[in-house]
């Protein structure tokens, strides 16, 4: 799966947790989930759990800690997919 394909899938994972649909459509590696998409920090946990289910991966505490912007989310997901 290319990074762009993963990004498009990630958008569908994030969508239920942000009301800023315009920003969601134009997200890039630098987009900060809390600051830019106005997602509360507790909902980041839901996004991680949803991502685990979607990609059938397991995200550990240290990896979850890194997932603050879109780029780092893609890095973690790609890394876990490659480990499968």
């Amino acid at each position: 799966m290319t990074r762009e394909e993963t990004l498009n899938e990630l958008k569908t994972v994030i969508a239920p947790y942000t009301t800023n649909k315009e920003m969601l459509n134009s997200i890039n590696d630098e987009t900060d989930l809390i600051r830019d998409l106005k997602i509360n920090s507790a909902n980041l946990v839901d996004i991680i759990i949803d991502a685990e289910a979607k990609y059938e991966i397991e995200i550990d505490y240290d990896s979850a800690d890194k997932m603050i912007n879109v780029g780092s989310c893609l890095d973690v997901i790609t890394e876990k997919l490659n480990q499968k």
Binding site: N40, A42, N43, V45, I48, I49, A64
Partner: protein
């Protein structure tokens, strides 16, 4: 038998809404609270017609359903190494509650909470409140985070 956990609750006097924990394990908690006739909110909600406010119902559900269970889960996790005098500060993350029946001064309510998940410090539970006749008062999904502050280490 589970009531020692009440010592860890940061609420005092007029804002502590847990009397007793009757069941508690990793998957859920059941607890009771009796609404005090003289509680501060009855004087104004409503004048001459005291009814327990929805926010207080929600708070009772959150204190028993999330905070008690959250503190239990944290204390149980030996790896976290919590000292006895560490203070626990619960932060409510989200609630989605529906209300079905009024609660009047002096009534006893029972809160039953079932854990959905506890991960990365976030606890999510399905919580129900019933009155003494077993009727549903309120139900909904609650989530929150418990922040630990170790007094010894600042």
């Amino acid at each position: 038998m589970h009531n020692e956990i009440l010592n860890h609750l940061p609420y005092k006097s007029s804002f502590r809404f847990v009397d007793n924990i009757s069941a508690l394990d990793e998957d859920g908690v059941t607890g009771e609270y009796t609404l005090r006739e003289g509680a501060f909110f009855y004087e104004d909600h409503f004048v001459g017609n005291p009814v327990t406010p929805g926010v207080i119902i929600t708070e009772i559900m959150a204190q028993i359903g999330l905070v008690v269970l959250g503190i239990f889960l944290i204390l149980k996790d030996g790896e976290l190494n919590i000292s006895e005098d560490a203070a626990m500060y619960p932060l409510l993350a989200s609630t989605e509650v529906s209300f079905h029946k009024m609660v009047l001064p002096g009534q006893k309510v029972t809160v039953i909470s079932k854990k959905q998940y506890f991960r990365f410090g976030k606890l999510k539970c399905y919580v129900e409140m019933v009155d003494s006749s077993g009727d549903i008062v309120a139900k909904g999904m609650f989530s929150g985070i418990v922040k630990r502050v170790d007094i010894k280490n600042g």
